[in-house]
Amino acid sequence: MIKSPLDCFFPQIKLQFQKNSAIKKQNFEVLWGLTLYLIQVAFFRCEESGDTGCKWDLFFSLGDMAASKTTNNSNLIWNFFCSVNLTIFLLIILAITSIVGTVIPQQDSAVEFAQRLNPGFFRLFSFLQLFDMYHSIWFRILIGLLALNLIVCSIDRFPAIWKLFKTSPRPDRSKPFENIPPDWSFSVKGNIKDTSTPLHELLDGQFKKIKSKETDKGLYFYGEKGRYSYFGFYLVHLSILFIILGGILGSFFGFEAYVNIPEGDYVNSVRLRAGGAPVKLGFEIRCEKFFVEFYKDGTPKEYRSDITILADGKEALKGNLTVNNPITFRGITFYQSSYGTIPGNKARIGISRQGPNPSDVSITMELRKPVPLPGNDGNIHLADFRPDFMRLGPAVLLVVRPPEGEEKKLWIFRDHDSIRERFPEIFEKFPGLNPAAFEPYFFSLDQMESKNYTGLQVNKDPGVSFIWIGCFMMIVGFFIAFFQSHRGIFVRAQPTKKGIRISVAGRSNKNPVGLERELDKLSQKLRNLFMT
């Protein structure tokens, strides 16, 4: 007889430990033992042990739901999927496998990690889709199995729950009144005929489905509440399906993209995070201005983009985008995500001429617009702007066209002096970096215009409303399932020699202490009703 899966497999694991303690295989053995154990939990019944039927309680307590399993379907696959052991197995397997993705870098950040792996592991990890495991086939299959398990279990148990929901006891039962505490029973003077209406009125306010019956033994009442609580767990399980459905809808019909918009510029398409061709928005979004504000200690306080959306040639929406306050237009939502600067298309270039006719000027130049050199030595133009060239800071590519001879290309750095301090010979060694390479001139980059750009996360997710509905259902379902119980209340008025004896009794599918409190209150109310 299997006593408990734990007892069954723990010795085995221990044994394997002893055998292989010196070998590295150990970890594998433990994993294997654990897997065997989980399979056993999933596919074999384990003996129920421990003390059951504890009536002690703090806030609430549940009855044993295991009793509600009734249908005896002979279909093997059906039986496999309606097993709670499978549920436990899948939950634990999902939990264990999820750990992998928190240890191995995922998606974009996986590249660096993958490069350091040896080829064998790399192939194995790629085969198992471990670099994006939460979107891998096997992980999705596991979630699918859980959903299937949940659906089959729900269908399987439905008839039993429905029966519980539908059946209602006869009010004239005497069994509930056996062994009731003395507090719940008292005698009053009077005629039994006069008790019927006040009893009805009292119960009507508090309970539903009031039934009464008059027999020669006395007057019987039955009322109840919380019948719907049988469906609390259904609501919770349905909510899980909603959330899974929301996730599926999002991944099929939604997208995650981003876009950088320089101030004053606009875009009409965005780039998918997953890569591929840009997605057309069908409207234009313009960034009027980007602001970043800091606290005194330098911590960022607010990122804000003033944006305008233009649709069909008209201004459709104007607003401020901040972190935590996204803007949605035609089902596409824009989130403030990052910012940065890009070079503009203007720069101030200092030109000094040494030798017989020295001159020193500083002129503002636009990209690709030639400017004559002061001494009629041809012209110059700017061919490229770099915010950070060769990790030496901002630089421009200056092209000099002398009247005769070949043109010269020079990279001019803004931080010329500090670079010379760090690398004393650099400008002499590389003529392409030397600002004095075109004699007798010396060029300097005095200022480079830069523009802010705002980085927006752009998402479309038609599944998101299903997610929120699911979350809401889950919480409501939990409250119903855990804190509501189906309580039936019996009240009996019996004629005695001196008058009438009134007793209360009840039953509940869970939370016996709560029921006791309710019956205490009810008997007190009845006492107040008849004794005054």
Partner: protein, 280 residues
Amino acid sequence: MVNTVILSYITFVYFVSFFFYLLMMVIGKSTLGRIATYVTLGGFVVHAFAIILRWIESYDLGIGHAPLSNLYESLIFFAWTIILLYLLIEWRTKNKSIGAIATLLAFGAMAYGSYSPTISSRIQPLVPALQSNWLLAHVITSFFGYAAFALAFGLSLMYLIKRLDNPEKQNMFLNLIPRLSILDDLTYQMVVIGFLLLALGIITGAVWAHSAWGSYWTWDPKETWSLITWLVYAALLHARMMRGWRGKRLAIFSIAGFLCVMFTYFGVNYLPGLHSYAQS
């Protein structure tokens, strides 16, 4: 700052109450237990006062926000929720036996927050992503959930200790621990409360992430670990409700669950992600 000084003293108040709860267990005098309760209650009230004071001080600094925004503040709040839940249990059950574990956990959290050199107790301004009302809802629900799991863990430990009980040996220490069935039931109830609150914590976090980053779920390590914790407890609840698991197996399950909670709270800081406090 005044609040951090008060809070560092509270650490020792909880240590004193731990000492009295322990003494009560060993000696078996109810007077000691009563002293322990009063000390804990006193510490709890001053603790709450210090948290409010910290809140006010943040406004005086011009960066006003609820004190729930960094590791230090979360540890202080965690200790507070543990004590609050424990006092509720003590009041409802009139049993002080898990007091020692609850106050020890609270002491540990407070001491780690107040005296670890790596944790800054400064009031820091909120970066844009944290400026959301969901922050409050998310942190409060999550930490009450954690606290409930912490108490379930304490109860499970008690269960395993109580199992050593031998009716022939009149061991005072073990006599004071409630019956096994009571411990088992209380553990289960704490797990249910924690499970519900953790679900709320995950949901409020998802709503917040959706408005801040555009995606309700990104498989960030903290998110994933909270889901792992939730799955483990979901398995526990199914095992108990549908398969009738009780006693030792459930106690071990709940201890394993709490280890997941602890990893979600602390371990994740060593993994990269949005929640890592390491950068702050």
